[in-house]
């Protein structure tokens, strides 16, 4: 695993500079990375991107007054000027008794390699190999006669190092590599066509699913929607496929972020240790899974992260807190200054097939379009695509309808949770069935 002690020295230097220049507390984070991406369409390279990136951000606190700055130029003179400016600007901020940066509570694991986030093999791949992978994946997809057009296939690799340092003794660093592949397709004829895509990513070259399997998944997702029609306006169960479950729980996570809670922009204010969902629901965030998409030792403020239960048997156990929101709420930071790590909905013991079989009439939801989520009220309303379920079987495709509800009711109306959890991104969920959903169509 890569370790760049030079970046630590730079971070430490700016922390010390900030202290000397008059700040009571200073926090610096630095990112340095390299990225490559290629996109191909119809068998040709369309775009080739290669670049290196640098970024630093700094927060200073003077007399409990906060100011911050960021820059893509890490030159000492630029950064020092920005830090001085921030210290001057802090004077204009209001005194905030809750302001503060974290103190060091524990050492980070001495061996970051157990997180398994770095793979030299990715760095050794040639551009030609990456281009070939994108071309092969698209060729496989286009060989299917039902595909009318390619929206392009992409392949990307990246490598980066993050450093966090503050004047309370925090200093940490970790590096990651990443590799990703995606393909976007259209199927159908004339004005009646559909588009959809699939993607996979990993920290490790050999854990990235094959281009063929990615193409197959994209083909399946787009072709099953061809010929979609509106259904009648009605109230029925909706079966959320794993991607759609993920979308729903992303909204829940938004509603339990510390800042949404103290600003009262959430329907889940003051709900810790209360039941907010069906007893079936358990949500966990685990940053320690080796090679996990969101695995990491500490958050954006350098607070150590560890496994945490968010919802247990339907009871809300934790908000997602950073240092500031935790103090505002009279709690302790739980290392979520940069959100979740590997968050998942614990799987149930029924298969997705059994879930579909249990529905007499309803919608199997496979895609949504639109914003339509309001954390303050918990309202959700989105455009929906999917397959209509009749007597336990998937029938014709559905589009140009919406589903509407409140997250509170939906969480309580969870009726079944599938056993098909696949931890492929930082938020993962199995198939779930929710009763009493309002669908608006014709």
């Amino acid at each position: 695993m890569k370790y760049n002690s030079n970046l630590n020295d730079i971070a430490r230097h700016f922390v010390e500079f900030g202290k000397k220049a008059g700040a009571d507390e200073v926090q610096i984070s630095i990112y340095e990375g390299n990225d490559f991406s290629v996109s191909v369409r119809d068998g040709n390279i369309e775009e080739l991107n290669e670049a290196s990136d640098k970024a630093a951000s700094v927060k200073v606190i003077v007399d409990k007054k906060v100011a911050s700055a960021s820059s893509g130029d890490l030159a000492a003179s630029t950064m020092e000027k920005l830090i001085k400016n921030a210290i001057e600007r802090a004077e204009y901020s209001g005194k905030d008794e809750f302001a503060g940066i974290p103190t060091k509570t524990a050492d980070y694991p001495s061996d970051m390699s157990k997180y398994d986030l770095y793979d030299e093999a990715i760095l050794k791949m040639s551009p030609e190999e990456k281009i070939k992978r994108a071309l092969d994946m698209e060729r496989f997809a286009l060989a299917d006669k039902r595909i009318r057009a390619s929206g392009g296939a992409g392949f990307g690799t990246g490598e980066g190092t993050r450093v966090i340092a503050n004047s309370n003794g925090i200093l940490g660093q970790y590096s990651t590599t990443s590799i990703s592949a995606s393909v976007s397709l259209q199927a159908g004829e004339g004005d009646d066509f559909q588009e959809d895509y699939w993607w996979e990513s990993s920290h490790h070259l050999n854990k990235l699913p094959s281009g063929e399997s990615i193409a197959k998944k994209a083909i399946e997702r787009v072709t099953r929607l061809v010929g979609a029609k509106k259904v009648e306006t009605q109230v029925v169960p909706i079966v959320f496929d794993p991607q759609m479950s993920q979308m729903l729980f992303e909204f829940l996570l938004q509603c339990i972020s510390g800042s949404a809670i103290y600003m009262k922009q959430s329907f889940l204010v003051d709900k810790i240790d209360q039941s907010i969902a069906s007893k079936m629901l358990n949500i966990i965030d685990d940053p320690t899974i080796p090679g996990g998409a969101g695995s990491r030792p500490f958050d954006g403020e350098g607070v150590p992260m560890s496994k945490m239960t968010i919802v247990e048997n339907g009871v809300l156990k934790n908000y997602l807190l950073d240092t500031y929101s935790a103090k505002k709420l009279g709690m302790k930071s739980n290392g979520h200054a940069s959100g979740i790590s590997n968050c998942y909905i614990a799987p149930g013991n029924v298969s997705p097939e059994e879930i579909i079989k249990s529905v007499k009439k309803g919608l199997y939801l496979t895609n949504t379009i639109g914003q339509g989520t309001v954390p303050t009220s918990g309202d959700i309303s989105k455009g929906a695509y999917g397959l209509w379920i009749e007597n336990g079987k998937l029938t014709y495709p559905v589009a140009e309808v919406t589903f509407t509800g409140t997250l509170s009711e939906m969480l309580n109306n969870i009726d079944m949770i599938g056993n098909d959890l696949n931890m492929r991104s930082s938020l993962s969920a199995p198939t779930i069935k929710i009763n009493n959903m309002s669908i608006s169509g014709k």
Partner: protein
Amino acid sequence: MNIKRRDFVKSSGLCLGAAAIVPHFAGNLFAETTYTAKPGEVNYFGMSKEDIRKLLEIALSKGGEFSELFFEYMVDSSVSMSEGIIKGSSESVRLGVGVRVVKGEQTGYGYTNELTFEKIKATALTAATIAQGNSKATVANMNEYFPKVQTYATENLISDATLKTKIELIREAYDAAMKYDSKIVKVNSSLADSIQYVTIANSEGHIISDVRPMVRLVVSATAENGKVRGSGHGNDGGRVGLDFYKKTAHPRDIGTRAAKEAVELLSAEPAPAGEYTVVLSKHQSGVMIHEAVGHPLEGDANWKKQSIMSEKFGQIVASPLINIYDDATIPSLRGSLNIDDEGTLCEKAMLIEKGKFVGFLNDKLSAKILKQPENGHGRRETYQHMPIPRMNNTNLAPGESTPEEIIKSVKKGFYAQTYQGGMVENTGKFTFSVNLGYLIEDGKLTKPLRNATLIGSNINILKDVDMVANDFGVFLGSCGKAGQTVPVTAGTPTLRIKKMTVGGM
């Protein structure tokens, strides 16, 4: 209005303040004191015209047909207030150059934030690999040209204002929102401003610069009544100066708007579900034009034959009441531009005329492939992004009905007042998400309704617009596409749509 030479030189001088440091990596980005610009002298981010010419030539060395350098220096500032205090302020600096090489329909791109000749040369060689071969292409002498319009405020810019002045603005907005009603429990008021300097040079021998101010004051307010809560939003700004908040959009009105929406939402009910006649208010309904017309007419989706509109050029695609254009030269709006991010002079582009599809939104590449005129729609978020066809200020022209007539004509329907946003696919299927709407009963607005998604397909909705009012309003937005966000506006009069699916309960 033609740009005054004086203004341009002044701007270039500022630009140089940033650029002068560049040849030395450890130099000082803020070296205004050590840099002395001679009036009239132009120095493109520390590069000479000859350096730029050489770099463009190097970028073509592997057989590319077109090369381009996009230099950018941008300073963003923001300050925010909530819970009665200034919570903090921030300053962010961006400096770098993007190198683009095009061959046929293929693009190579690289960027760096180290502005030395050697580093840019290395980046140019990386971008050049899109073409595989040798080239003896030469780049002619560089000729500087200038924007023909000045669509931004040039004086009294907010980026030059003191932090104290900015705090006064957000405090006024904050206080107005808090005082609006005792049910208001939390308010956040913030001001974000930026100044962006760009120099764009390409292998056609063209070089042009621009200095773009931007500001936005945003207020969100949350109201509480027992267990019911509602959040409302207000914002205003553009490429304007400080005067804007004194004369055109007073901060207290922005704050009041946010608070009013929050309080109104406390009594709002879920929208009904099903197909209804829909009236889109003038306030923010530009979202619909942006999604249903703007995106589907962007050149890239059309030359790639991915848009539902690809084969419809020259056809009647909308009701004869519909005229839609995009115009970056309207002064001071968020989507206003003198030149786009490829250096093309901006102009008004007709898209739909009396229902007929007459034009695309083009960047250089799409214009060339579609054999259509370049019209100044090649935009990018930063030097780290390649330009793609984007909207600027997209408008549906007013018609002849009055807004009152339109509401009166509806027996039962849905009136859309404010929005969270909208989304569209290449298939033409789109949604817009209404934050606050009203039920129309017997020609009158009755109950407030909350969070409803309206869904349709663009080829149907454009034909179903059956009344267009003589009023007009503009939605201030940020548009995301292909991972890039750019500021835009979209304007409409009040419109009636015969029938649309309203997502409710």
